[in-house]
Symmetry: C2
Subunit: 229 residues, 2 copies
């Protein structure tokens, strides 16, 4: 049977962002599938790798760090629950699409946490290259749709993209707070850093600031932030 | 600060489905939040537990079994890519919502694989009780919306619910095929069992049968199914 490797990457490489790329290329059967179905299958099998991209943030129970696939699910759920806080009308369905695909580029580019200054310098370039490769696995029309969603998310200008950015930022605060702030202490994140980072919510969905402030105030009262040097 | 435990469950219990329930209740700060926001936060923090519900199916790279949160993300993505195979008009946004929430009940009820006959006898009852508890964490209007989505998924009658069921079923075939069928051999799943299980696609989205058949034919050719007794 003719087979196509859905990725030509070597099995383990340390990427520019310092992360280890996922394991070997996945082989999907092609000969009995029409080209459109084969392309869709190749994309969906490749997307499975997002389950192996580990983020800095923990599960709420502290048992392990979360991965970017389950994180994407979580913020899509947050977008549905919190869309009402937007001060503009939001197409909830499209906001959810942006949440679902916003981190796919991390399959190649890895997660780049805010304290990775070297990684952040090359993040935009690495993620754009990843978007070029990954969405092109799809049939051309769907590739354009998915790439359009990703570009829309990155631009953070539409109500849906601003909501997706807001819940992405708020999710990190929520799980770090709910898990007792262990990550903040471990990475030397001070209260000022956390407040500055969540201040961005004012640009995206100001209606989510009271929730962020309540979580930050409680974390401060509990002494969960790192001390300033 | 007044605090509310988002779950009154003990830390570790073997559930009726034979699974271990997630770790202790999560504490969320309530005093500084209005009741609506507090309810939304309680639900979203509780939802994090779906990341700890381990399914039978593996990641494509075989490195571990997938959890129900990342699986829900994956089938939402599948619904977006494969909605065009439905023979009825599909509201993609609502189909994605059904995918996102369809497994939340597993936080209480656990995953019940097809070979767990004892678990399957009580599955409907356990999952309905879980839906009663989990969606009620939300404000009443959102609880009704989310419960409506879950009831719609369970009924499998609307085009969106049928698509969600189809990609849920197809996802298991896709990841088991892409990972080399190890699960089929380990659990004694024969070709006849797999074909019968995926024959259900004809009831939901017949347009996905060719893809399922190609994967089943290839798995059969590779000798990945268990031998019949």
């Amino acid at each position: 049977m003719t087979q196509l490797r859905s990725s030509a990457k070597p099995s383990v490489v340390i990427g520019a962002g310092g992360h280890v790329l996922p394991p070997p290329a996945t082989v999907v059967p092609m000969a009995t599938l029409d080209p459109r179905t084969a392309a869709q299958l190749a994309f969906l099998v490749e997307a499975d790798k997002l389950k192996s991209i580990v983020r800095a943030n923990p599960l709420v129970d502290g048992s392990r760090r979360e991965n970017s696939a389950e994180h994407s699910w979580h913020i899509a759920l947050m977008a549905l629950v919190l869309a009402e806080r937007s001060d503009e009308p939001v197409d909830g369905g499209r906001a959810v699409c942006l949440c679902l695909i916003h981190d796919l580029v991390e399959i190649d580019a890895g997660d780049t946490p805010p304290w990775d200054e070297a990684g952040r310098a090359t993040k935009a370039e690495r993620e754009a290259a990843a978007a070029d490769r990954l969405f092109a696995l799809l049939p051309a029309d769907q590739a354009a749709t998915f790439r359009g969603w990703w570009d829309e998310f990155e631009a953070a200008e539409t109500p849906e993209a601003k909501l997706a950015h807001a819940v992405d930022r708020l999710a990190a605060l929520m799980v770090n707070h709910a898990s007792g702030g262990e990550l903040w202490r471990r990475h030397g994140r001070t209260e000022a850093m956390a407040r500055a980072r969540n201040g961005k919510l004012a640009d995206w969905v100001p209606g989510l600031l009271p929730l962020a402030t309540a979580l930050l105030d409680d974390a401060s009262a509990q002494g969960w932030f790192a001390d300033p040097d």
